[in-house]
């Protein structure tokens, strides 16, 4: 019988400091481990604990995986101490991820904010791989300040592509910032798509997800076409431990990506 609680061993190959509180870990699992954009992993440091994270690397790369992690608590403190050569545990992939095939032939609007840019990066790689099957591709990214922009160089490279309509904003600018200043909803006007049929994906801090969702509704995007990447307390990751229930769903097993129409009536979704 399969043991769903068991982690597989992985080696830390590289640690990249993105911001003072965010690091990206390049991991090499010792067994085959593949995932789809939007799925998540339970990442553990032996002797310190386990917590859920969404990978931030291209899901088409099979032998390694990157995970970008903010330091916010006990487990992430231990993760931030990791060095190349250290051994960690990975359990997953868990959850359903984004239904990419439903995006075929559609205009796709991606709204990312803060550390939400990490899972969005995996999604963007997935969308770039299927770019010729999509209609428009729109990306709107926001962050508190330019120093907190994850993968800024990569984003700047994407900005130069002619197959994506992309804008980035910061809540507060600095001397290095030439782009717009304001929350992400302020750069969501002037998108030229048929909103009634467009698919929108939102991933970021709860407050940003809430207002981006309201803005998308205002623009005319259907609730069933707004895909939200929900963050709840998840322990087991497969719908048994009971922590992440949202109405009739478990965030881990039935999500973590939900369309807004599935969850809008349940309390506490933005907390």
């Amino acid at each position: 019988m399969n043991n769903p609680y068991r982690s597989i061993e992985a080696e830390v190959l590289k640690v990249t400091t993105e911001t003072p509180s965010i690091k990206t870990f390049l991991l090499k699992p010792k067994e085959e481990l593949t995932f789809k954009p939007g799925q998540f992993m339970e990442f553990s440091v032996p002797g310190s604990g386990e917590a859920p994270f969404t990978p931030s690397s291209d899901s088409h790369i099979n032998d390694t995986m990157e995970i970008t992690i903010v330091k916010v608590g006990k487990v992430t403190d231990a993760i931030h101490e990791l060095k190349p050569g250290d051994t960690v545990g990975l359990r997953g992939p868990l959850g359903k991820g984004y239904p990419l095939t439903k995006f075929i032939g559609q205009d796709v609007i991606v709204i990312g904010g803060g550390v939400g840019l990490a899972p969005v990066r995996t999604l963007m790689y997935g969308l770039f791989h299927m770019r010729d099957q999509l209609s428009g591709l729109i990306y709107r990214g926001g962050c508190r300040n330019p120093k907190e922009f994850l993968y800024r160089k990569e984003l700047e490279k994407w900005m130069k592509r002619d197959d994506i309509n992309m804008k980035l904003t910061v809540d507060e600018g600095d001397a290095s910032w030439k782009g717009p200043v304001g929350v992400v909803t302020t750069i969501m006007d002037n998108i030229d798509v048929n909103f009634d049929r467009a698919k929108a994906i939102v991933c970021g801090p709860p407050i940003m997800m809430k207002f981006a969702t309201f803005k998308l509704q205002e623009l005319g995007v259907q609730d069933r076409n707004i895909y939200l990447s929900m963050e709840k307390n998840m322990s087991c990751g497969f719908g048994k431990c009971g922590h992440c229930r949202i109405g009739p769903y478990y965030c881990c097993k039935d999500g973590p990506v939900f369309t807004y129409d599935m969850i809008r009536e349940y309390p506490g979704i933005w907390e």
Partner: protein, 388 residues
């Protein structure tokens, strides 16, 4: 076995143990169709079993013989109630009948604290004999329906729970009493087992009437034939009488408390979702989590990696949704920051979530949470208050 007069027909789904009164005829073979599962999957065995009788002394012998293959748990009197402990060699002092034990049976299938993974090995760590639970009550069996739904699945099933359920044996029993906190009839359960058992015992003078609920139960009886005799009409009447008395007693007390009828339970919670009742009802809660721990359907747990050395030792520990940080995420957001929200969530899970996803009420009416609560919060009173 048996004469026409006392043949009992148990129409039991061999797959899920659902007891049905619907008999259909397929290809000339009498079969039983389980109405809660799809037709194509379930054409079932039909047991024509004589109603049997076993003397108390013979039951002692039967249970003793089971200790080789099973961890046999029997209820013993402990103060005003009964509690389970493992049957020892010379033990004949157990008590079948009466009411459910104070401890929930989930504890034998899903330990309060159990190591579930070590290092990166795929091994299933717990490897003891399967449990045999003797004297389980109808409310206990209902608890398994909920836990089975949660823990049994192909991809992510809990290996130790699944193994214990698959290999375990359940020898259930009718209730022969009820106490002040019993309200099973209010959640559509009769105080005698009707399904989900291998063998059921209905206590009568000097012994028990025996019914079979599964292949495993039938095999057990077949291989111990000499311990059983045929039951008589008088025996059957005695059980019927007991069942009627207990049921009307429980139903009377449930009615006096004005608990909403089963069909209305999820509707009253929905209707009163924003009501002040939740705030008032949670005033006496001290967040001890006893209601969760003692509940036969509460299944929530936490995976905890032992903080000792660099080895990975992962434990599955019972958790409680009444405790403040249950739903808190890293970074501090908490969708159920207030105690009344957590109390409401507990009711919502039992009376809305499980009926929605499983078509079963997630409460068995066992009343354990009422006895266990130091704040004297009574689930029945809260439900009654919701029905305005």
């Amino acid at each position: 076995m048996g004469k026409a007069g006392n043949i009992a027909q148990s129409f039991v789904c061999s797959d899920c143990n659902y007891l049905s009164d619907t008999v259909i005829n397929i290809c000339g073979i009498m079969s039983v169709f389980c109405s809660i599962k799809p037709l194509d999957k379930h054409v079932f065995h039909l047991y024509f079993m004589a109603m049997l009788f076993i003397k108390r002394g013979n039951l002692d012998q039967l249970l003793k013989s089971l200790t080789g293959d099973y961890r046999v748990y029997v209820p013993h009197r402990m103060g005003n109630s009964t509690g389970y402990s493992q049957l020892s060699e010379s033990d004949t002092d157990y008590e079948i009948g009466e009411i459910r034990s104070f401890d929930p049976l989930k504890s034998f299938y899903f330990l309060g604290r159990e190591k579930v993974a070590e290092d990166f090995k795929p091994d299933i760590l717990r490897d003891d004999k399967p449990p045999c639970i003797v004297g389980a009550k109808a409310c206990d069996l209902k608890g398994f329906r909920i836990l089975d739904f949660v823990f049994i699945d192909d991809e992510f099933g809990d290996p130790t729970y699944m193994k214990a359920r698959e290999d375990g044996l359940i020898i259930s029993a009718d209730c022969t009493g009820f106490n002040e906190t019993c309200f099973c009839t209010a959640v559509d359960i009769n105080p005698w087992p009707e399904s989900d058992f291998d063998v059921n015992l209905s206590p009568i003078e000097d012994g028990f009437i025996v019914n079979t609920g599964s292949d495993k139960g039938r095999d057990l009886i077949e291989s111990n034939k000499n311990l059983f005799t045929e039951a008589t009409e008088a025996h059957a009447e005695a059980i019927d009488q007991n069942r009627k008395t207990i049921k009307s007693g429980v139903a009377k007390s449930a009615k006096e408390l004005r608990i909403p009828v089963p069909d209305r339970l999820s509707r009253v919670i929905e209707k009163q979702y924003e009501s002040n009742i939740w705030k008032e009802a949670s005033e006496d809660c001290v967040e001890c989590g006893a209601c969760n721990t003692i509940c036969p359907t509460c299944h929530c747990f936490l995976l905890y990696d032992q903080k000792s050395d660099s080895r990975l030792a992962r434990f599955r520990i019972w958790d409680s949704c009444m405790i403040h940080d249950f739903a808190r995420v890293a970074g501090g957001e908490n969708p159920r920051d207030r105690l009344w929200m957590r109390l409401r969530n507990r009711f919502d899970k039992k009376f809305t979530y499980f009926p929605e996803v499983l078509k079963e009420i997630g409460c068995t009416g066992c009343g354990r949470c009422i006895s266990a609560c130091p704040g004297k919060i009574d689930i029945r009173e809260v439900l009654a208050r919701l029905e305005v």
